[in-house]
Assembly symmetry: D2
Homo-oligomer: 328 residues x 4
């Protein structure tokens, strides 16, 4: 199985290495609008750097899209129409209308299209979701999701990011749907700017809480912050009629310190999403290869990517209106 990678920035380069290391696929080509970046990825993996995406698409069985968000819809359309399997980074697009146009354009595509919600493949979150699905906590009644980035990205990035809900919380909105296996009926959002005034000046928030009600009655809370001085804080708590499951944080070692003033101190949490979710990115590629080989259903699907954006948009609407937004 030959795979090509479009977009070799920070995340793309990580994907390039994972694809190159996978035993059942071959990374044959990489492309980036910034040619030296593609050449670096090529050098690191033995793939060929190509100049044009069409050149890449035509020589592969599958395309991984890790270029900038505004290019996703076009690249999905071109790859799908060429009959290629697709793994596209989230979000599909920041504009739901564009997503819907893209959806129409690929209606007849038969090759699988997987969206890069990598957290679905994190061993801890996956184990939690599986236990919920298997009934370990009985009827699910609540999710409490904590999602805090170590530090905000540059304001230049934030300007084109789509804002906290579409750029950052979209992962958490997706994981809630994934764990509960359903779509929410209602969503409400609160947000403020406490981390950096520059973020508020953009009209964006950096501190946010969302509540969702699912048709079963289950309630979901998500909190996000653009700053967490103790590291990348990523926790999920699932509570049900027969118990609770927590998928907790990660540190590099298991060293504990005891001194005259305190006990049990651990090091900072893993700081960087690529490090924290290293295994999930590997597993994501593995799942994609399995999907292409017909060993599993596509998941998360294009529609999962679309629904997460629908929720992010509704959260934003609630933030502005002060009202809960009914869904579906």
């Amino acid at each position: 199985m030959k795979i090509g990678l479009i977009g070799t920035g920070r995340i793309g380069l990580m994907h390039a290495r994972n694809l190159a290391a996978h035993p059942r696929c071959e990374l044959v080509a990489v492309q980036d609008a910034h040619a030296p970046s593609a050449q670096e990825a090529a050098a690191a993996t033995g793939a060929q750097a190509v100049a044009e995406v069409d050149e890449l698409i035509e020589q592969v069985d599958a395309v991984m899209i890790a270029s900038s968000t505004d290019t996703h819809c076009d690249l999905i359309t071109r790859s799908a129409q060429a009959g290629k399997a697709i793994l596209c980074e989230k979000p599909i697009h920041l504009d739901i209308a564009e997503v819907d146009r893209c959806k129409a354009s690929i209606a007849s595509a038969t090759a699988p299209i997987q969206i890069g919600f990598n957290r679905r493949f994190d061993p801890g979150h996956t184990a939690l979701a599986r236990a919920v699905a298997e009934g370990e906590i009985g009827q699910p009644e609540m999710l409490v999701i904590t999602s805090r980035d170590p530090a905000p990205p540059p304001v230049e990035y934030l300007k084109v990011s789509g804002g906290l809900f579409r750029d950052m919380m979209i992962h958490d909105l997706d994981i809630a749907r994934f764990i509960l296996g359903a779509d929410p009926a209602e969503i409400s959002a609160f947000g403020t700017s406490m981390v950096d005034p520059a973020i508020g000046e953009l009209g964006d928030v950096d501190t946010a809480m969302v509540t969702m009600r699912f048709p079963s009655g289950a309630l979901v809370h998500i909190n996000c912050s653009r700053r967490s001085v103790y590291g990348y804080d990523q926790r999920i708590e699932a509570f049900g009629s027969e118990g609770m499951l927590i998928s907790g944080n990660h540190t590099d070692t298991q060293v504990e310190r005891y001194g005259a003033k305190q006990t049990g101190a651990r090091e900072r949490l893993l700081d960087f999403f690529i490090e924290r979710y290293a295994k999930s990115y590997v597993n994501e590629v593995d799942a994609f290869v399995d999907t292409i080989e017909g060993k599993r259903e596509v998941s998360p699907t294009f529609e999962d990517g679309r629904q997460a954006l629908v929720l992010a948009d509704a959260a934003l609407e609630s933030l502005h209106s002060g009202k809960a937004v009914a869904l579906g």
Copy 2:
């Protein structure tokens, strides 16, 4: 200092023992509408069981009120007008109009009136609140409060309880005000009935989430459930610009179990609020004695009790309207 106790049910009896054991006050009289209950409390503590509240009030310096909620306002008024110090169990009343009438009736009272939000005196929650106040986590940005009872009380009780927000979450609404040292600007609530259909039939909820926005921009999430099979789940997480503090759960021992299928398993959480918050009830009485002796300001005040009810009412309004409710 002579103290009298009105109401010797489950909580009252516990207070009776704590008052009797306190080195700087003397429990001289107990009263209960159900005389045998008062006699039992008298026998356990060496206090005298009296038949009438006026008989009790006139012979003491301070009155602890632990009778049924509907009697609180009347007893506060009578005790205050008699010039006695008061420690009254929460809530003051379920009807804010009654609370306001009571407030007017005691306007000229000079003896301290303390409301029984015992959790403010829990060593863990207190340490967290103090650390927040001292700036240990910088600017507070979020509170996440988990508050789950092991099992719902009898439906007969629930009918007169005022519902989840006024009866149960009122503690959490108070602790949020206590930790942040401010009043919220906005509140939004979601609730469903998943634990027992009988609760839903009463028009009450058993599973609820509330979000509040404070004037500083800080956001607060509270989740409550009337059922928690693993015990009484009481956690507070305070997150700020320079760190996070968690006040966690309690178990009876520190025993961990490692077996062929799992590691690190602990026993159930302490199940019963009187056991979980045993120290907070002792500290509450101690603070009350200190207050009477002029060593500290009254806290929580009558107004704190009133504000918590205002928030519970606003949460209920939001639950029904689907809109965030502006406050203050």
Copy 3:
């Protein structure tokens, strides 16, 4: 049931309060060589301070002995010969010959004699011991016992203490016998003086490790230090063919701190043995009352007290000889 207390120092006063609070016994008299100390204990509990031990013994059903170690044998003998039940603090005596003389003198006594190894009554250690006895970890194969005091007692005390093995590790030697329900076949000890040179100058050690082999093949490790800057470190780990149990340390709250440099920091361990083992002292008295009432067998027995001293002596012998000492 009337109880008298001999010895009202630090531990004695704590016992006085526990006896006074017990619902099924009455502390009627206290005695101490230092009369003002007895009067203080009397004032705190409502007991009568008496001048002479015989005066105390004759008016009670049971005697608790918490006076200095050198008085234990004499007081046991006098109380037992007067037909009184006895709860005597550990150790029985520092000289095994005296213990054996005492044993002979009470051979015909029929009232129960319980020795004050309070840790057998700690909820955590008890739960661990019960789980081992019930086979939860299969065949027990190892115990690892950590026992570190926050700081050494005054050198004046150490001079008459009998040394680390007889004064401090005797608790751990007893708990090993208790958990495994057997006597060891062999013991080996290493010790050094690293905490305070003054301790070494006494010929004592302040840092020690002991290994024991039990007839089943099970091995036991104990480590003791006279200094632990992070608080009173008291842990037991039991390892067997089917799992492991750990009875861990205690802190006052469950607060965790997360900051820019570290995560999960807890406060210092409870520092003081009376605080750390508060429940075990209460349970010990309760067990003693149960024993007198015939509801349980005496435990720990006089012979348990004697065997712990035998082990401490053997450890000391091994320390000096550099050889493992065969026992029994």
Copy 4:
């Protein structure tokens, strides 16, 4: 830098992959007495499978030796005399006389010889050792090392393993020397066979405890078991005048389970040493490359390998004699 690997069994294959993935060295040749095994390793890494060790040695700059223990001395000698850098798996040999002969044979070798005590490169153990070295816990006073394998290896292996002390505890003996930066003055051992009678019939033990005294007065306890049903239990506790450090166990996820009977349950520990110490093996190779490049001193040295065997032999002597064995 060209590296060759001798021995491509389970550990060898793992090393092959790590060498192949290292950015600053090239695995050019692999050799194994069992040719198909070498071919498999060659296929997995792109190295060439060669038939004879001399053929391998002559074409490389450095040799990694992961063949059976009895071949180590000969291969070290041949590689060293050919001027090659060496990374040799532990133990050097089971017979100290052979080790000493090897030592003599390589006396004039100048290229670095590193011994494969991989645990020195584990991030947790390394962080603990560095903190001890930097004085974080003041004067080190005790180490408590727990080292339990999930299950015993086949009896056929055990027959030629050299026994528990030389085969398994040798890692822990080395890590004690590493952390304390010194050689012990005295060692004492206890051992029994409780896991499998077949092990006892070999004259070996499967359950063992060792105590060492270091010249500073510091004491070290090590416990080993050939069976641990809850997974691979690998902990180090370092205790000193100013605190304690613990390097704890590893699990695959951070999921905790709360149910009606228990709370906080985690999954089994990582079971397999190659998985548990995955990072340490990678770091070990990296350190070797750094050493060859002159960026760090050789460590652990041939002499470290020799001293660990001296300690294992002395432990065995103590086990049989019942006496502490003086060292050095």
